[in-house]
Structures are given as structure tokens and as C-alpha cells.
Symmetry: C2
Subunit: 161 residues, 2 copies
């Protein structure tokens, strides 16, 4: 890369900015409608390149926000990047904090909740080529709720670790 | 996942530990020999799964350490996770700090240096299926050194930003 290519290098170096935003990365809040199964969450796609088989995204929830309770065939590789909260995986509820790693296997229901009174954000690596998420039906959610720990999580009040 | 599967969930939640280590993730220091083209660097593979087409690795250099100056066809998607330092990309030298993003395109020489007087660590996403890195020959390094900024970087004394 010649010195004259400095300008071309601009897009290759993208600075971190206040508030967990990045230079040149669009911030995409999810639009909440009547029955939206998520709350106060946004997405930023940090890396997306036809020469790479995966994307790296950053999702962030405001305090009290949560991601959609869903499952899919594709695997999620997650690292908490900001704050702390709780994660439901199958029917296991765990506290999670900055830099913890979470593997979400195929077809496993999962949800993240920013229960720490502050925003919680996480990196999520996924295959470019992936299936669409599926939502649990109400009977399944009822079965999940039979576990008091899971019910408390779904109500936004997980037990203290 | 039934309550009885709590144990199975253990490997899915891997806690961050002091010193930028992770539960269940082997820490692999690179062995330095006579002509090793790197210094004081270690690798931890955070995510590696046959069901994902990419890996996510964490590399860390001690203060003053550096990665190998190399190029390859595969793309690197990098996020600085710890500390700050400098990055050479082509013949562009840039200061980098926590959570900055760096895209390393195909066949572009690159090197990271922990110039901040503290360890610097970064995440690096790569395709599972990738080519081996190639080193520049001495003539090419000489050409790079004709740029005083690059020469200072290679000597471990990059100019202040």
C-alpha cells in the first residue's frame, strides 16, 4: 500500500467512539411494535465481507432491555462486551459479565437480558449463510415457566447469583 | 435443556478470568527461537466449532511485544480488546486502542505492536479454511523502511499520534 493509499486505508481502521459506537458503522435500533418479542435493543454490524464466511455483530440492550427469545439451526458465538446481565440458554439461567463467552448451540432457545441496571452489549459471530430464527409457541413458554428460575428471568427479575 | 443438563451447559458458559484468560481456554504462548519474527505473544482460541465457518481467536502481546510481519490471502477482522498500541497495514502506521476495528485485506502486510507500555490484546476472526501466512523478504522490508514512519514502527518506536 503506497502512501497515496492512505485514503483507502481509512475504511480499514474504524475507531471506537463514545457510547459503544464505531466510526462508519450504522447503528440500527430495532423498531418496537405491539407484540415485539424484544425490548430496547440495537444492532451494529462490525464485520461483513464476502471474503469471510462469518459476520461479527454487536448487539446492545438498554438497562432492562432484552433480546428475542428464539432458536435456530445456526450457532451463535457470543462475547459480552459491555456491562452485565443474565442469559437464558435452554432452561439454564446464568449471570454474565464483560468478556464472558457463551456458545449457543443449534436449536437451543436463548435470550439475553440487561438486568444490571445499565446497558449490556455483546459481540455475536454467525455464519453468513444461516437460517431464520424461530419463536417458541405459548405452550413451550408455559413449560419453561414451570421452572421458577426461568419464570423469574422471563419476568425480568432473575435471582441473584 | 433439562435441569439435569446443567452440567452440559458448563462448557457453553465460559467465564472471563483475571489477566485476560478464559475458563476452559488453553493459553498458548508462542515459543521464541533464534530468528522468531514475533515477540512475547500468545494465542487463545475462543471459538472453534465445525458448525461455524470462522474461528475467533484472542492474541496478546506483553508490553513491547509484536506479532509477525506477514501477509496472506485470507482476511483478518480485528478488534482491539485490551490496551493500546500501533498497527502497520501496508505501509500505513496507525495508533490503535481498546475496541477499535481493523480490517486486514488479502495480501496486505501487517503487524501489531504493544507500544503503550502495557499488554495489548486483540480479537481476530478468520475463516476456518485459510492459507498459510507468508513473510516479506529482506528487499521488501528495506523498501518499507524507506518510509521513516514505518522504519520507526519496525524499530519499536512509532511516532506519537
Amino acid at each position: 500500500m503506497a502512501r497515496a493509499d492512505s485514503e483507502a486505508a481509512e475504511g480499514l481502521f474504524r475507531a471506537f467512539k463514545d457510547g459503544f459506537r464505531w466510526e462508519g458503522v450504522p447503528h440500527m435500533p430495532y423498531k418496537e411494535e405491539g407484540s415485539a418479542p424484544f425490548k430496547a435493543i440495537s444492532r451494529q454490524v462490525l464485520f461483513e465481507d464476502p471474503d469471510q464466511a462469518c459476520q461479527l455483530r454487536y448487539f446492545e440492550m438498554d438497562a432492562g432491555g432484552y433480546s428475542t427469545l428464539e432458536r435456530h439451526e445456526h450457532v451463535h458465538a457470543v462475547m459480552i462486551l459491555r456491562g452485565n446481565g443474565h442469559c437464558l440458554l435452554g432452561n439454564e439461567v446464568r449471570p454474565v459479565r464483560q468478556f464472558d463467552l457463551i456458545t449457543i448451540p443449534a436449536w437451543t432457545l436463548h435470550q439475553f437480558r440487561a438486568t444490571g441496571g445499565e446497558p449490556m452489549g455483546f459481540l455475536c459471530m454467525v455464519n453468513n449463510d444461516r437460517d431464520k430464527p424461530q419463536l417458541p409457541d405459548s405452550a413451550e413458554v408455559e413449560r419453561l415457566r414451570q421452572d421458577p428460575t426461568v419464570a423469574a428471568f422471563l419476568d425480568g427479575m432473575p435471582a441473584r447469583a
